[in-house]
């Protein structure tokens, strides 16, 4: 069952140089109980999309058009009061830096109780019991509720931030780069925690990340973003093993693999385009080794190709051949 369906979403930011379309026609489906990786480079719009879904865009940002359907309700049409009623209760947010979710001058217990009271109307013994239950759920000794955030390690802070997000039993958690700032061991432990919560609570999670290895490890599905658009989506295995978009193909060769062979890593030369003045046609065309004239003139829409696998590429029918060429470093050398 689709829990969340995003269609043609456009999010703009007011800037000194005019409106910037940070998200420009994004499409995303999140089935209930699945972990969906939203992957892309800095500035591709993945964090903006996450914030737009949660309804916590910065003041310069706004949803310009498109639709967000969540549990059958159209969020973009919802009055702020009803939107607020969903926030934290049905969907919640884990920011990249746990310190942004935690108040440095309050003990964790006070913060948990405040959230449970203000957002959930829970008081007294029931709230205290729930705070302890939440800490146990994320693998922290409830005795540590007496601590201040600075007494926690980075990994524990991220766990506490996840506990806050889970306080009111949401069905969807949007986690913005939750493991990026963490060392590999702690990163893995937090990913295992998220996977465990998914399994135990039937939680759906949107995992915003720039790391394809994090997607491979933790996600059931993946949506690849480039320059404000979702350019490929599908089951993680399908997308990572049989990528249809040249950008996804490039990403899969740019990563060092600790158990891999001696082959050289292949960079994708160039940089993503400015979203103030995006190129006409496919936005990846200026960096794409396979671009043809049509790619530079006309933007491809995200369309199904194969079972449950969508791609926005004019050359998708050549994907098998392109995949082979994409594995050659010379293909990407400008």
């Amino acid at each position: 069952m689709t829990l969340l369906a995003v269609r043609d979403l456009v999010v703009t930011y007011r800037t000194g140089a005019g409106p910037m379309r940070a998200v420009d026609g994004a499409m995303l489906d999140v089935p209930a109980g699945t972990i969906v990786g939203l992957v892309g480079e800095s500035g591709c719009g993945k964090s903006t999309l996450g914030r737009a879904l949660m309804g916590v865009l910065p003041s310069a940002g706004q949803i310009a058009s498109g639709s967000i359907a969540f549990e059958g309700r159209e969020l973009t049409a919802l009055p702020e009061r009803e939107r607020r009623a969903l926030r934290w209760r049905r969907m919640s947010f884990v920011p990249q830096t746990a310190m942004n979710a935690l108040d440095p001058v309050q003990r964790l217990r006070a913060q948990m109780l405040e959230v449970l009271r203000a957002r959930g109307g829970l008081h007294g013994a029931a709230a205290r019991a729930r705070a302890e239950e939440l800490f146990r759920m994320v693998g922290i000794d409830p005795a540590r509720l007496a601590d201040y955030p600075h007494q926690f390690s980075g990994g524990m802070r991220q766990r506490a931030s996840i506990a806050l997000a889970l306080a009111l039993d949401p069905v969807l958690v949007i986690a913005d780069e939750p493991v990026t700032a963490l060392d590999v061991i702690v990163q893995r432990q937090v990913l295992d925690l998220l996977r465990g919560l998914q399994a135990r609570l039937g939680l759906a999670i949107i995992l915003v990340t720039h790391d394809i290895a994090v997607v491979a490890y933790a996600c059931d599905r993946v949506a690849v973003m480039y320059a404000g658009r979702v350019v490929e989506s599908g089951p993680a295995r399908e997308v990572l093993e049989r990528p249809l978009h040249p950008y996804t193909m490039g990403l899969t060769h740019a990563f060092p693999d600790v158990h891999g062979g001696d082959e050289a890593l292949v960079p994708i030369e160039g940089a993503p385009p400015s979203l103030l003045h995006p190129p006409p046609g496919c936005r990846f065309a200026p960096r794409c080794p396979f671009a043809v004239d049509r790619c530079r003139a006309e933007a491809p829409a995200l369309a199904p190709r194969g079972v449950d696998h969508d791609v926005a590429c004019w050359r998708a029918e050549d994907a098998v051949a392109l995949r082979q060429r994409a594995a050659e470093p010379a293909t990407w050398a400008a």
């Binding site: 993680a236 060092p256 960079p267």
Partner: protein
């Protein structure tokens, strides 16, 4: 811009060179120790680290935040005063260098900064950024243009003239990191030290910077020390690796040997934790307990014992020494099969 390396050359077997069996190491440290004092408490950031890097060799120091890897690197570069221990560079003791001699050393041993967005003065043009080290290290003015051209070529920002009048905000993260690398190469160092050199960069450009670092080392015979928590990255650029845990080296050897056959239980956890870009992979719980903050507060026994799935009685009372186990490898663990 290419940035694509050919297949990996067979690295110099530094484990030998570094140990003085072959040529003299470029940089070597003996019993390097750093103790910080905070609120009347001693924090043992680095405890007796031995290390040697041969000419043209790249050595990785891998471990989590707080393991002492960055402090070790800063001591090697004389950016941090060691509490005890000795450092030699090209055979000469540099532990207590001052003044002009220290400046000369700095021109020979360069740091590549982690965050290119912080490393460059936003008001300076690239030209001014690159001229600064030339002036600081007293390179004659008539050599400046050639040095700048050479360094920019090396980092594939050519022709240099297209870039020199720009300022940092006009460059992408990957381009900035190339400038940072050019600035490090410009004084013709023997050694570069890179602390998480690509952690702030986007994935698609990381590979290009790593390839540049590899190419620069091969072409110039540079020695390099890379600091990272990510063994996948270290494996790509370093033939030899030291694994640090709470201030000590717990395992050392050729990177490929360590990854294929880790001997220290901590190294095993570190390798298991590295995310791999494949859907089919081991998702078993990590063979490690607790967190770094659960480390034992006392000095008795092995510092890893409370997190170690294999600890036994001896680990509680006696700290294991780093012992050589052949083939250029060493491990600090009491287990007989380690």
């Amino acid at each position: 811009m290419g940035g694509v390396s050919g297949p990996r050359l067979t690295p110099p077997l530094s484990a030998q060179a570094g140990r003085g069996l072959g040529e003299r190491p470029v940089i070597a440290a003996r019993a390097l120790t750093k103790t910080f004092r905070a609120h009347g408490r001693a924090i043992h950031a680095v405890r007796g680290v031995d290390l040697a890097v041969a000419a043209g060799e790249a050595v990785g120091i891998v471990g989590e935040s707080g393991c002492g890897k960055t402090t070790t690197a800063r001591m090697l570069l004389r950016l941090e005063e060691p509490t005890s221990g000795a450092i030699t560079f090209e055979g000469a003791d540099i532990t207590h260098l001052r003044g002009g001699a220290l400046r000369r050393f700095r021109s020979r041993a360069q740091l590549v900064f982690q965050n290119p967005f912080d490393a460059l003065n936003p008001r300076f043009t690239i030209l001014r950024t690159l001229k600064e080290p030339l002036r600081n290290f007293g390179i004659p003015a008539h050599e400046h243009a050639a040095r700048i051209d050479e360094a920019m070529q090396r980092v594939r920002l050519a022709p240099a003239s297209a870039w020199l009048n720009r300022r940092p905000h006009e460059l992408s993260g990957g381009q900035l990191q190339r400038v940072v690398l050019a600035r490090a190469l410009i004084p013709h160092p023997r050694l570069i030290v890179a602390d998480e050199p690509v952690s702030m960069l986007d994935v698609s450009v990381r590979a290009g910077i790593l390839n540049l670092l590899r190419d620069a080392r091969d072409a110039l015979g540079l020695s390099a020390i890379y600091i990272s928590h990510d063994l996948a990255l270290i494996r790509y650029v370093c033939e030899r690796t030291l694994v640090m845990y709470l201030g000590r080296v717990v395992e050392e050897g050729r990177t490929t040997d360590i990854i294929a056959d880790p001997r220290h239980p901590y190294t095993r956890a570190l390798i298991a934790a590295v995310p791999v870009p494949r859907v089919d992979q081991d998702r078993a719980p990590l063979p490690i307990r607790g967190a770094l903050s659960d480390a034992p507060p006392t000095d008795t026994g092995c510092a890893f014992r409370d997190r170690c799935p294999e600890a036994f009685a001896r680990c509680m009372t006696e700290a294991p020494l780093l012992r050589t186990i052949g083939n250029g490898r060493a491990v600090a663990c009491h287990r007989g099969d380690a």
